[in-house]
């Protein structure tokens, strides 16, 4: 047997095992909007139970990346695999959500005309069919889970408040609570602390670290202090591809990262 074949076989085995260990496998993804390359051969992997922060200047492709993973946008090329065997590029938003991928928007998006309780109820994992919903009755198990989540996001006292009347930070937390109700295995969180006070930011970091104990979390963030609080691996995006990856300290020392953030 030639060494070249050996090497190839070895490499494919490595790729296989790499895929097997990932909950999210993004490989060589590119997407173009009207000639603008939003993502350019983007590749990264998230392991089960990992907390990952993704940073990058405006226009680096962070939100587009989330759109691709959650099925809102289709990539022009590349693979996106969930748990190494489900091809996410073939599914739509509802399918992907039901597979166990939750997404938090940059701007807090909750159901404003519903109470905090009903917001969580709607997000509660379980039947999503039209007729299931029509004849649905609140089960004790569901109620218990809602109560638990209310405690986690500290909105227990506001359960009957219309979501529209919550403060900005409370809405962010409610949205995170709704994601938890979906029982996702992978959570994508887009700028969770934008517009939050310092103490809210701190508490959010604690909350996300807590959540990451039982599932994988990908956080897109601008706030460096917050990313430091998360204390996790960081991926730096720039012009649609990965510029650097590693601990925050080492990434911050990377001359390319410094140039992208401070130069120009």
């Amino acid at each position: 047997m030639s060494t070249a074949e050996d090497l190839l076989a070895e490499e494919s085995r490595m790729i296989q095992s790499e895929k097997a260990a990932t909950i999210l496998y993004v490989d060589g993804v590119s997407v173009t909007f009207d000639g603008f390359r939003a993502l350019n051969n983007l590749s990264f992997y998230v392991e089960p139970g990992e907390l990952r922060a993704i940073i990058g200047p405006n226009g680096a492709g962070k939100t587009t990346m989330m759109d691709i993973i959650t099925g809102k946008t289709r990539p022009d090329s590349g693979d996106v695999l969930f748990k190494s065997d489900v091809d996410l590029t073939k599914l739509d938003e509802a399918d992907i959500a039901n597979l166990g991928i939750g997404r938090k928007f940059q701007k807090p998006t909750v159901f404003e005309s519903h109470t905090v309780f009903d917001n969580l109820l709607l997000a509660c994992s379980g039947g999503r069919g039209v007729f299931q919903a029509l004849f649905h009755r609140l089960a004790n198990r569901e109620k218990q889970r809602i109560e638990e989540t209310l405690a986690t996001i500290r909105l227990g006292d506001l359960r009957d408040m219309m979501a529209a009347n919550l403060s900005h930070g409370q809405k962010q937390w409610l949205e995170i609570g709704m994601l938890l109700m979906q029982e996702p295995q992978l959570l994508l969180v887009d700028e969770p602390v934008a517009g939050m006070t310092d103490s809210e930011t701190e508490q959010t970091a604690i909350l996300l670290r807590d959540i990451a104990k039982t599932r994988s979390v990908v956080v897109v963030e601008h706030d460096m202090e917050f990313v430091r609080d998360l204390d996790c691996k960081v991926t730096v995006l720039h012009e649609g591809s990965v510029l650097a990856e590693g601990r925050l300290d080492s990434v911050q020392k990377d001359p390319r990262v410094i140039e992208v953030y401070l130069g120009r």
Binding site: A97, T109, H136
Partner: protein, 398 residues
């Protein structure tokens, strides 16, 4: 504040019925009407102050059918944010289905005395009944079609529109196009629906004379009962978890998708239910009015329905019923007293409601101020505040 432990222990149906003050009042009035109107017309002698004249029966029946149509629009617009500007099409299709039955009932009493063919077909030299008129000599078949045809059209139309994620003003425009296309189609003589003149000269329904007071009373009562049933069904839908999903779609559609719901199926369900209700309204309308013609498909007619709902109070269901009665009574009044001013009045009413009563007439009543679609996220405050705010804006611009 609602105590959920208590709320969910109650029998759900009884629970949401009793909690619904406006609905209880509406159902009470409908029930009262079902008793008082026939007695007032048939038992109380004509000279009495409590006598309900026959012309009033026709008017009430018409208002009740319009109210049901408004209810069906509120169900999709108020609760799911689907602004249909073509709901008159479903109403008219239901009306045509009933009209076809009534035409077959005429039998050989038509002007030309043909036992099978309606007058307009004889006039057009048609030799035999088109296939799609078969079965309409049976009342039950016609009633079924009055619900099925609008339902199927809404299902197919909705499937294509919602699957392609057509929303907002674009959806409104294609619903307009749909009703306009049907208007043009039904104007054609060779469609086999009486063309420009439509279907008319009805004699009787189920063997009962359509001109008799008894029959008219039964039709008014039937309209009131159907309105009541459809109200309860709509209320049941909006109070269920499905109803909560609908409101969520109205307020944050993409969030609902990312929560794992298939938004298009939910929209399709409520759109179809709403179209069936509109069809029922049309089927009840035609025997009481005595004619159905393509004019019912006119885009302007569908837009007027939206105004009724906005005036009454969107997203409350009973508000839509109230709005249909208020605007149509005003129409009856103004077209009688000063016909030239009706359209100005209607336009002015719509502007005034949008500016000063964003929650409609219902929202202006303090006891009901919390109800309605615009409630939580819209600007709160009474009409005085709105007026003040509006004046402020004007001042700012000047």
């Amino acid at each position: 504040m609602t105590d959920y432990r208590q709320k969910y222990k109650m029998t759900p149906v009884l629970g949401w019925l009793l909690q619904d003050r406006g609905g209880m009042i509406l159902l009470g009035i409908l029930l009262l009407g079902c008793i008082v109107i026939p007695i007032g017309n048939l038992v109380v002698p004509a000279g009495s102050a409590f006598h309900v004249p026959t012309w009033m029966l026709g008017l009430l029946g018409k208002y009740l059918c319009y109210a049901l149509l408004a209810l069906s629009v509120d169900l999709i617009w108020g609760f799911c944010g689907i602004l249909s500007l073509g709901h008159g099409a479903f109403f008219a299709l239901g009306g045509y289905a009933m009209g076809m039955y009534l035409m077959r009932q005429i039998g050989d009493r038509g002007v030309y005395g043909d036992p099978v063919l309606p007058d307009f077909m004889v006039f057009l030299n048609w030799k035999e009944l088109p296939w799609y008129w078969y079965g309409f000599d049976h009342f039950s078949f016609a009633v079924l079609m009055a619900m099925l045809v609008p339902g199927i059209l809404a299902f197919v139309f909705g499937f294509l529109a919602f699957r392609s994620r057509v929303t907002g003003v674009y959806l409104s425009i294609i619903t307009q196009a749909m009703t306009y296309a049907l208007l043009l189609a039904f104007f054609r003589n060779d469609m086999g629906f009486g063309g420009n003149n439509g279907l008319t000269d009805f004699k009787d329904i189920l063997g009962f004379d359509l001109q008799s007071d008894q029959t008219r009373c039964v039709l008014v009562v039937a309209s009131a009962v159907m309105l009541g049933i459809c109200y309860v069904v709509s209320r049941g839908i909006t109070q269920s978890r499905l109803g909560k999903v609908l409101i969520a779609i109205r307020d944050a559609e993409s969030r609902v998708r990312f929560t794992g719901y298939r938004v298009e199926y939910y929209k399709l369900f409520v759109f179809t239910v709403s179209a069936v209700m509109a069809g029922i309204a049309g089927a009840l309308y035609v025997p009481q009015i005595g004619i159905i013609n393509p004019g019912e498909f006119a885009p302007a007619a569908s837009i007027e329905v939206v105004i009724w709902v906005a005036v009454g109070g969107r997203g409350t269901l009973y508000g839509a019923v109230l709005g249909a009665f208020i605007v149509n009574y005003a129409k009856t009044f103004f077209t009688g007293v000063m016909p030239d001013f009706w359209l100005f009045f209607l336009g002015g009413l719509f502007i005034a409601v949008t500016l000063f009563l964003p929650k409609g007439v219902i929202g202006a009543i303090p006891a009901f101020a919390g109800a309605g679609a615009v409630g939580a996220s819209g600007t709160s405050g009474g009409w005085r505040d709105r007026l003040a705010a509006w004046r402020g804006n004007q001042g700012g611009k000047a």
